[in-house]
């Protein structure tokens, strides 16, 4: 377990909600922000704010240095070969849409296949649905195993020589399942398809290495990993990004502009039209510093331990169903569950009245809810600042809810 001292870095956690100390178990929706991220944003706006890549003045240079410095931090964080492969976006959703609209439109034709799974978040479903509709391509879903994991055999069955894109989440935001991305990438590449990874639930929690995974694209959001909202990353292999057209056109992304023709800046800026998300990128850089000080390996272990502790405690409760892999080693710090005869919204309200924040609903994964045969679930998700006491409070809250609705 990580030190409880980490909590003190998060000012928001030091408050009471409905008369109880806050227990925040909704980090898979968005994480809380440590003081050093909040201060990085404050410092940028207080001392360094200017537009980047233009003008000669000192503030402009400082802002540019900080912004591009954040890109280098991201490059190191995911072990990309070059900062040219790191594009700042609004979030994982925007990043996935960019791949679909740029790479997808140029490379997918009628009858080609795009492959995703039944556990995907809506952000890794709808961009491909739209692309498939536009191109007359086939969107194929890999079905899940009983325990909510993916079988490589089923991946092998699904991927064919007509497959152009395989797009799969690294860690499920509902089941907590960690998918074998490296092996799936090998299968995709053997058929000449590109591998897109939705890393939204992976980047906050485990060490990412795009060269080791050998994926072609990786998308993630800053706000789930202690960074601000409105910033995310699209990683892409340089040779692919070089071939791709920008999806947004305007200032900042151009080389020469004529009356009827224009040319684009080099990577990564050709994908960053308009004034970029400067403060957001700087905040994300500060979040990466924070996470690396703790160590991603330690964070991953901490979450495994907390999820294991939660599952052990919760499995003793009658009428409580936990979804996803039952082996805590196969899952990240996410525990999704239902309590018999208590709808998750009602459960979440009772927990909230006891100071405990959980998510209730379909978690932006309606096809997965259908697979689970339930319309909604409750979800507790853990992060660096959570403790065993938080789990105890959750279990106590569940008992109160159970009694209340009896």
């Amino acid at each position: 377990m990580l030190s409880k001292e980490i909590r003190k870095h998060f000012p928001i956690l030091d408050q009471e909600i409905n008369g109880h100390p806050l227990v925040y178990l909704d980090s898979a929706a968005t994480s809380q922000k440590p003081r050093q991220v909040i201060e990085a944003l404050n410092d940028y706006y207080s001392y360094d704010n200017a537009n980047v890549h233009r003008g000669v003045h000192t503030l402009g240079n400082r802002a540019t240095d900080h912004y591009e410095g954040a890109r280098e931090k991201v490059r190191k964080f995911i072990n990309a070969k070059s900062t040219q492969e790191v594009i700042f976006t609004r979030g994982a959703t925007t990043a996935l849409n960019m791949v679909a609209q740029s790479y997808g439109r140029a490379n997918v034709s009628e009858g080609d296949e795009i492959i995703i799974t039944h556990m995907e978040h809506h952000s890794n479903i709808i961009p491909w649905q739209q692309l498939a509709k536009e191109k007359g391509a086939v969107l194929k879903y890999i079905v899940l195993e009983e325990d909510g994991t993916l079988s490589l055999d089923k991946v092998r069955e699904a991927v064919t020589d007509r497959t152009k894109i395989v797009s799969i989440m690294y860690v499920s935001n509902v089941l907590g399942t960690m998918n074998p991305i490296k092996e799936i990438t090998e299968i995709a590449h053997a058929h000449g398809a590109v591998m897109v990874v939705d890393g939204a639930q992976a980047a906050p929690h485990l060490k990412l290495d795009v060269q080791e995974l050998n994926c072609d694209f990786l998308a993630f959001s800053g706000h789930k990993m202690c960074g601000p909202t409105g910033i995310g990353v699209l990683y892409g292999k340089k040779e692919l990004l070089n071939e791709m057209e920008p999806v947004e056109f305007g200032g900042e992304m151009i080389d020469f502009v004529g009356l009827h023709e224009s040319t684009w800046k080099e990577l990564p800026w050709k994908f960053e039209g308009g004034t970029p998300i400067i403060a957001g990128a700087i905040g994300l850089g500060a979040a990466i510093d924070f996470l690396e000080e703790i160590g991603l390996d330690q964070i991953e272990r901490h979450e495994h331990e907390l999820a294991g502790y939660a599952m052990e405690k919760m499995s003793t409760m009658d009428g409580l169903t936990i979804y996803g892999p039952h082996d805590p080693k196969k899952r990240a710090g996410i525990v999704t569950f239902n309590l018999d005869n208590v709808h998750p919204h009602d459960l979440a309200t009772v927990l909230d009245m006891n100071g405990i924040a959980v998510r209730a609903g379909h978690h932006c994964a309606q096809p997965l809810m259908k697979w689970l045969e339930c319309s909604a679930t409750a979800r507790a998700s853990f992060y660096v600042y959570n403790t065993e006491e938080d789990v105890d409070r959750l279990v106590e809250g569940l008992r109160i809810a159970k009694e209340y609705f009896q």
Binding site: H345, G361, H362
Partner: protein, 146 residues
């Protein structure tokens, strides 16, 4: 005290409608069918109505959702039966005002519905309560426009 707040939300009449919903099912002889969902949380309602001569003769609902949304649907079907369409729509507006915490004209007999007034203090749950009413208003309005 938190428990008191909870009791304001989950009044016993609400739990009664949740556990023993009135008018649950599908009307075979219906001329109005409405499916509506709450995209933020996954609640769904399938509402069937029999509207004749401007009167809601019968109403049934099926759906999935929390205690608030299902109890609200149950109460809604109960109160609109045998009412004319204008009155049904008026109830939907009164209900909407109640959810916004507005003063309600106390000459209107709200019956069991009054128990849902506590939902107004739980902003995240207002959409749960209003789903069935929105479905009904849409259904009877479309029917009367035909």
């Amino acid at each position: 005290m938190p428990t008191n707040n909870l009791d304001q939300l989950y009044r016993s009449v609400i739990m009664d409608h949740y556990k023993n919903p009135r008018n649950k099912g599908v009307l075979e002889e219906n001329n109005v069918t409405i499916d509506m969902n709450n995209p933020t949380c996954g609640d769904v309602i399938h509402l069937t109505l029999k509207v004749e001569d401007g009167i809601v003769q019968d109403a049934k609902f099926e759906g999935e959702g929390c205690s608030i949304s299902m109890a609200s649907a149950s109460m809604m079907t109960q109160i609109i039966k045998n009412k004319d369409v204008d009155t049904a729509v008026q109830y939907a507006h009164i209900f909407s005002d109640m959810m916004l915490g507005k003063e309600i004209d106390d000459s209107v007999d709200l019956g069991d519905i009054e128990a849902l007034s506590g939902v107004a203090k739980f902003p995240a749950r207002i959409k749960c309560a209003t789903l069935a009413w929105k479905a009904m208003e849409k259904g009877v309005t479309e029917e009367s426009e035909q």
